[in-house]
Symmetry: C3
Subunit: 259 residues, 3 copies
Amino acid sequence: MHAPNGDHSDRAHLADHAADLVERLRARRPRVHCITNAVAQSFTANVLLAAGAIPSMTISPEEVAAFAARADALLVNLGTFDAERRDATEAALTQVVNERKPWVLDPVLIDRSPPRAAYARELSARRPSAVRLNEAEFITLADAAPPETFAMRHNTVAALTGASDVVTDGTRIARIGNGHPLMGRVTAMGCAASALVAAALAVESDSFKAVVAALLIFGIAGDIAGDAAKRQGSFGVHILDALFNLDRATIVARAKVTS
Amino acid sequence: MHAPNGDHSDRAHLADHAADLVERLRARRPRVHCITNAVAQSFTANVLLAAGAIPSMTISPEEVAAFAARADALLVNLGTFDAERRDATEAALTQVVNERKPWVLDPVLIDRSPPRAAYARELSARRPSAVRLNEAEFITLADAAPPETFAMRHNTVAALTGASDVVTDGTRIARIGNGHPLMGRVTAMGCAASALVAAALAVESDSFKAVVAALLIFGIAGDIAGDAAKRQGSFGVHILDALFNLDRATIVARAKVTS
Amino acid sequence: MHAPNGDHSDRAHLADHAADLVERLRARRPRVHCITNAVAQSFTANVLLAAGAIPSMTISPEEVAAFAARADALLVNLGTFDAERRDATEAALTQVVNERKPWVLDPVLIDRSPPRAAYARELSARRPSAVRLNEAEFITLADAAPPETFAMRHNTVAALTGASDVVTDGTRIARIGNGHPLMGRVTAMGCAASALVAAALAVESDSFKAVVAALLIFGIAGDIAGDAAKRQGSFGVHILDALFNLDRATIVARAKVTS
């Protein structure tokens, strides 16, 4: 009955944009090359496929450049830190940076491994389109800087996920309240979110808007899965179902986002 | 009421043979060693187990020959192309070819990686019992030859899967209309189909009949899963359930196959 | 109506202890580092998460010591036997043995690979807190010794799983009758059971009691999953749901265990 207030129209705008992005992913089917850890590969591939994107996953240094050249976006996930993956990352990044394609850094568990953290710092200096990580990882990476400062300094979008998500490019900031506690109890959930961010960046040139839309979609899929399944195994299946089935009306009704 | 026409009796014959093969897999439990990519390993293992076969998956060059020696069939999937897997493939193939055991080549995504395509051409000259692949992969591998010519030239069975499947050994040809569009939206579906072909070759010496039966079974399981689950995550679970539960009456009722 | 006999009170005691252990896992959330094969990684991580533990999985020799140092228990699964995993195992074991943390050996399929069997023998001389394996693997490892002798000689807990499970530390012995035949038809079930044993050892200092509780919990989850799902794909989902949802009353009602 009342005119929407600022927050509401903002929410509506961001929800609408997320719904647009879902449609674009399904229509354009972007190719996302993922250098990621073996634990996460299968679930990550299924999340991308559920959303409409097309994953590839080879980490072989001999051919990763060929895959990166044919991909629309790249994910570099540090869930395993080894010489082979560093070679693969170097080959893929060279390709992607030359062609100005988007890429996402996911510095998994750098708070548990100092050499991995050092490598993440190196990579974050190479202009990732976005960095998605949790709070402990962010503290390790950003050395006590707030997200806005980190984003500004690295010319990137910082996306901290947790009980609520914060996305910032240094000037804009969005907060997302969707998601479900079971997302922290299924392996590779964060890794898959980062892959979805990469897919979003392939179809939306405003990186901040792409990241917000991707995390909003993923959080809403988590909400829906949590409503359908109160247990861990089923939750992992239902979140794929929810992503596959997501429509504009559901996104608009469920979005909890402010900017 | 009418005498069955040629096509009908053909269909009935192929469906019956597929049902026989399901029973043989469950009774004999063939061992299938799979050199495959990490994305596909878990789902592939579960498809083999659901069908009654026993998977092994090591790619360690130090022991792959020991596993191949104890296996009844081998799958070589090129989903990751690296030096370690090439060494493993060489060791396993030497074993398998010496003992005249069946093996299947799955040249995954060779249309995206020239070095992988070159390696697939080398392997296809080493008399795989069957080559399972999609159309883009086949065009890259066969250099514009039709499937019958490719099969004849390489003394193999070519199995092109897609909206409908074509299987040929150069003289015989079968077309399978089963399957569901969601099979293209779950990771490792094609890789798992190739593993099932390898299992079938372990229990049926006529390679053409083995490949037709395996793909018919897999397509019917896909149909059943598609009826039960309209969404991506559930589909991946239901196709395993359907394979595990498949019986003769269902196969006979659902088979869409001509030769 | 009758006073409980010795067996009954025994059963009740072990069931109660298993229920305690479930609560401890959820409250303390132990970190379990797993050196395991790629087939098993995702399901193993999800089993640990469903039970309340926190998995890590890197096998990179460069950082595995850092992860082992921050973990509460270690799993060494020989599902793939290669130089990289041997290096990782050496680095992790050195850390874990120095700090007297528990570790579990799972000598997967050593009956199929002589070099893997030789390595398992080496490792079993390094005082694993427990060795979990099936009968064929045990025969290969123990060289015809009975489980009690093997456990005594290696100062470990031997846990043979199968249609029924036997757990012994050489002086005590327990038999567990829970579990479901479908557990043998889903990939990585044994690997995941070993990871759960490692998690249990992190929160229970009596290794024998820890192993009995972990296998009892896993078997009961299998029973519940088998009641809910008669088919293979769903079973893999339901066993995670059951683990996640397990409560004291269910454990006490369903436990089939004697010692």
